[in-house]
């Protein structure tokens, strides 16, 4: 070990490129020993083969900014946002490096220092600050989209290619945007729903922002599954979006605002768990405690709430859910949503549920936990890259010859549905709650 012979990275004090609060933890940075074992797990590294689009490279870039060796350059911004935040690297890393936190705090710094490309900025601003930050706005936008999808405008614009010409990204966006439901979820359920007979559990339910307007049916299935399992379900009316999309984008302020609001709203009720059917929301709400750790007024309640958050599959297994009695003869493959498998490390529960359904032939989906490219609104901002990931996913899906491809996250479902069309694959993409509900129904 010729330490003295070689260039030792001296800890010279240069100006840290990260400022103010929400700075990537230097302890997390130094935890990375740059061994590279995470490289093969990273979808973006596989796309480019370049070190800067790998977890190891990104951590090094974050370190360079922290050490004052690099400013927050456009290149830095691009790499931080090229990352899917799928956290496959966290699962792969033997050293336990908290990559997800590093990239999110780096994005927070980027956001704070306002360094995002204008297109991304425009799109994201429209989404996060206008549409998603209040349920009313989201509903308004969704209603517009609903009319637009039902009416002939969409077809005409599509056919003539006008839309594509005007704004290519917007044109793609409309393909990717989930079909808006006829009736929003929270318009069709009362605030408290009771099961037949005595309730054995009392749970709260996050109706979600996108789930609420575009996956109302999945929400309905989730509630029905919970009712079937003897749960009384509270769906607080005043709840807002969980804040995960904003946080992943670096807008911690809006995310925290939403978190505080939800803490107030949910903790008014009494329940043993908050059940969540969207992996991204669950992962983020489990982090409320972490994000509000410095907020004296909220930190305790935030941790309390985080501890109660349970993914639907996690909850069902914990209460020894009712196994469907009648055979449900289908060939099924399970896709691991990144924010379930990597962020929440939940992989066995969904499979256990599927295996418990009689008649189901559960086949292995190759690379089941490889990102499908949905990743929030990644598929809009990084369309081409996202489509390459989707193509890889759909090839794997095809190889299973499954009739049903099950996922537990709305983003993945919308993305893979788009994939079915785009790559002309057969099969149906379906949420686990929907499948389970159908299985229950098959004997009623």
């Amino acid at each position: 070990m010729a330490f003295t012979d070689v260039h030792i990275s001296t800890v010279e004090k240069k100006k840290n490129g990260f400022v103010g609060v929400d700075i990537p933890s230097y302890d997390f940075i130094t935890n990375c020993i740059h061994c590279g074992l995470c490289l093969p797990a990273c979808p973006t590294y596989t796309l480019t083969g370049l070190e800067k689009s790998s977890p190891r490279g990104r951590i090094r870039l974050i370190k360079a900014v922290a050490d004052g060796d690099l400013e927050i350059t456009q290149g830095f911004v691009d790499e931080m946002h090229f990352c899917l935040d799928c956290q496959a690297c966290e699962t792969a890393c033997p050293a336990g490096v908290k990559y997800g936190s590093l990239v999110e705090f780096a994005r927070a710094q980027i956001y704070r220092q306002q360094k995002v490309s204008w297109l991304e900025k425009g799109l994201k601003w429209f989404f996060f600050e206008k549409v998603l930050s209040s349920k009313r706005n989201l509903k308004r936008a969704a209603k517009a989209l609903r009319m637009y999808q039902r009416g002939g405008v969409e077809r005409i614009l599509n056919k003539t290619g006008i839309l594509k010409m005007l704004a290519p990204k917007m044109a793609k966006l409309q393909h990717l945007s989930p079909r808006i439901n006829e009736k929003f979820f929270d318009e069709s359920f009362p605030e408290v729903v009771r099961p037949v007979g005595n309730a054995q559990h009392r749970v709260a339910f996050l109706s979600g922002c996108i789930m609420n307007v575009a996956f109302a049916d999945v929400n309905r299935d989730t509630i029905e599954v919970l009712l079937h399992n003897g749960c009384e379900v509270v769906v607080p009316r005043m709840q807002e979006c969980c804040g995960s999309l904003q946080a992943h984008n670096g807008d911690f302020e809006t995310a925290r605002k939403l978190a505080r609001h939800n803490i107030d709203v949910f903790l008014q009720h009494d329940f043993e768990a908050i059940v969540i059917n969207s992996a991204g929301c669950g992962a983020f709400m489990k982090e409320y405690g972490h994000y509000l750790a410095d907020d004296r007024q909220y930190s305790e309640r935030a941790s309390l709430l985080s501890r109660k958050v349970k993914d639907l599959t996690e909850f069902l297994v914990s209460i020894d859910f009712k196994k469907p009695g009648h055979p449900f003869n289908k060939r099924v493959a399970y896709h691991d949503a990144c924010h379930l498998a990597h962020a929440q490390r939940i992989t066995t529960e969904p499979r256990a549920i599927l295996e418990a359904i009689p008649g189901i032939d559960l086949v292995d989906l190759p690379e089941a936990s490889w990102c499908c490219g949905s990743a929030g609104i990644y598929n809009v901002v990084h369309y081409e890259d996202s489509m390459q990931l989707l193509s890889r996913k759909m090839k794997n899906v095809e190889s299973t010859h499954a009739e049903l491809i099950v996922a537990s996250n709305p983003g993945c479902i919308a993305q893979m549905k788009y994939g079915l069309d785009l790559f002309e694959c057969t099969g149906e993409i379906i949420h686990l709650a929907t499948l389970l509900n159908r299985a229950y129904a098959s004997h009623d």
Binding site: F3, I8, T30, H34, L37, P40, L50, R60
Partner: protein
């Protein structure tokens, strides 16, 4: 600084899209897996043909800049870390398996193919490529050949050099040669291909590699043996080897390593034991059964507490995967892990472990030790923090002592990771000055302008004019001038 006009020429040779010189790219190619060492390159070049590489090499000779070949950058001695005035020549994109010859039992591959990809490709055809470094899911065959990498199966099957049958190499003068071939015997002239194995990117750039394959073992059995003391585990290893049993693998893990691996992989390993051995026997079913039974008896004789046998292939793979993560898992304890690679004759395993222990104590350092016990190859890993300068210096002294102990026992300072930058200071102690002089004269005769990975393995500082020193007295004079440091 490389002249901008030269950089432009480089960009023209490979095309703009394969020429990278942004600050972000330079930073992310400034390191490999080695702790504490980094240096920015002037540019990163992604060549796509051997002719392009030859042109780059020729240009380097004309205008004097250095070329640092790079595979995946998983190296642990600084082999692919840039040097001053250098470009990184990225070979990881050369990832095609060109041919698998099932009759001659060879595979022709590009140097950037990931080692594990070779495994899966040949195993589908009932063949076997044994070298399996801990990093096999990320490292490249080119990097393996350049470092003569070992692996978990070294005990029975040897290391990379035993499987290289031919090499296509761009020489430091821009010429391209192919040395070796599919014939199993070949004594025409000097054996050049073997000479490139382990050359750490200093003698040539590999562009094609012909690998030897063997039939895939019919079956295998993987087991874990738990020991209360390290000494007993080490003695069990010696006993197994002495009984003329040759398992494919005997890996050793000490308690600190067991704890970290368990924390990462959740295998249910007991964290109270002092050490464990991961043993795999393979071959014909009857032999495997017989060997496994004998090993159980031998381990028990050396006070093994318990032996667990993997129930199926999936479990066996899980165990081996966890072992491969040992080095990185140790970083759970402290952020900087300085891993060494001393190798001693197998009989010296127990004494070496003892020495490592007492040296760690003497310098008040925390160590996790694991390694390819069957090869006598240990990875004493110092768990430290690069921000603690005092501790880093103590670690330096500790390793110096460990190296000296190893040499005294007839061992070496590195069994598989290479000399690179990290260990070159200690090379004279193990190789001797005349040997280094020979290495130097080889290097300077085929790479007179020192363009290929200069400063790796040994320093190149032409301090004196005239011919190279040949005897001890002459060498001494050179030494006084500081020529080898």
């Amino acid at each position: 600084m490389i002249n901008p006009s030269v950089l432009q020429k480089l960009s023209r040779i490979v095309g703009k899209e394969n020429y990278l010189d942004s600050q972000e790219d330079k930073i992310t190619y400034s390191y490999d897996g080695t702790p504490l060492i980094s240096q920015l390159p002037e540019a990163v070049i992604i060549p796509h043909s051997k002719e392009e590489i030859a042109q780059i090499v020729t240009l380097a000779n004309e205008v004097a800049f250095a070329i640092v070949p790079r595979g995946s950058g998983s190296g642990l001695s600084g082999g692919s870390v840039p040097v001053e005035n250098s470009i990184v020549l990225l070979m990881s994109h050369w990832n095609k398996i060109l041919e698998i010859d099932t009759e001659n039992l060879t595979a022709l591959v590009e140097p950037g193919v990931i080692t594990a990809d070779v495994h899966s490709a040949v195993e589908k055809l009932g063949l076997f490529y044994p070298p399996d470094p801990g990093s096999m899911n990320i490292c490249t065959i080119g990097g393996n050949v350049a470092e003569n990498a070992g692996g978990l199966r070294g005990l029975k099957y040897g290391v990379t050099k035993h499987y290289v049958m031919g090499l296509e190499v761009v020489l430091p003068n821009g010429e391209i040669i192919f040395s070796g071939g599919k014939s199993v015997k070949d004594v025409a002239g000097y054996n050049l291909k073997d000479f490139f194995v382990g050359s750490e990117g200093t003698l040539g750039i590999f562009t094609k590699i012909l690998l030897k394959l063997i039939p895939k073992p019919e079956t295998s059995k993987t087991m874990l043996a738990y020991f209360q003391s390290r000494k007993e585990a080490a003695e069990a290893v010696s006993a197994i080897v002495a009984a003329h049993i040759v398992p494919a693998t005997i890996e050793f893990l000490d308690q600190t390593t067991i704890k970290c691996v368990e924390e990462y992989a959740h295998l249910g390993l007991p964290t109270s034991i002092e050490s464990l051995l991961l043993i795999e026997v393979d071959g014909r079913p009857s032999v495997v059964e017989e060997d496994a039974a004998k090993i159980v008896v031998l381990c028990k004789r050396h006070n093994c507490i318990e032996i667990k046998i993997a129930q199926n292939a999936v479990e066996a793979i899980r165990l081996k995967t966890a072992r491969r993560a040992a080095f990185s898992a140790l970083a759970r304890v402290k952020p900087t892990t300085i891993l060494e690679d001393v190798t001693v004759p197998r009989t010296e395993l127990a004494p070496m472990l003892e020495r490592i222990d007492s040296i760690a104590g003497k310098y008040n350092l925390l160590f996790g030790t694991f390694g390819h016990a069957g090869d006598g190859n240990l990875h004493p890993t110092c768990l430290t923090d690069e921000r603690d300068t005092n501790e880093i210096h103590r670690a330096e002294s500790a390793f110096e002592e460990i190296f000296n102990e190893s040499i005294k026992m007839g061992g070496t300072i590195t069994g598989e990771h290479g000399t690179g930058l990290a260990k070159k200071k200690f090379l004279p102690a193990v190789a001797g000055i005349p040997a280094i002089a020979m290495m130097q004269s080889i290097k300077s005769s085929i790479d007179p302008n020192a363009i290929l990975n200069p400063g790796k393995v040994f320093s190149i500082k032409p301090k004196c004019e005239g011919s190279l020193p040949r005897n001890r007295e002459q060498i001494k004079k050179f030494e006084e001038l500081g020529a080898w440091t």
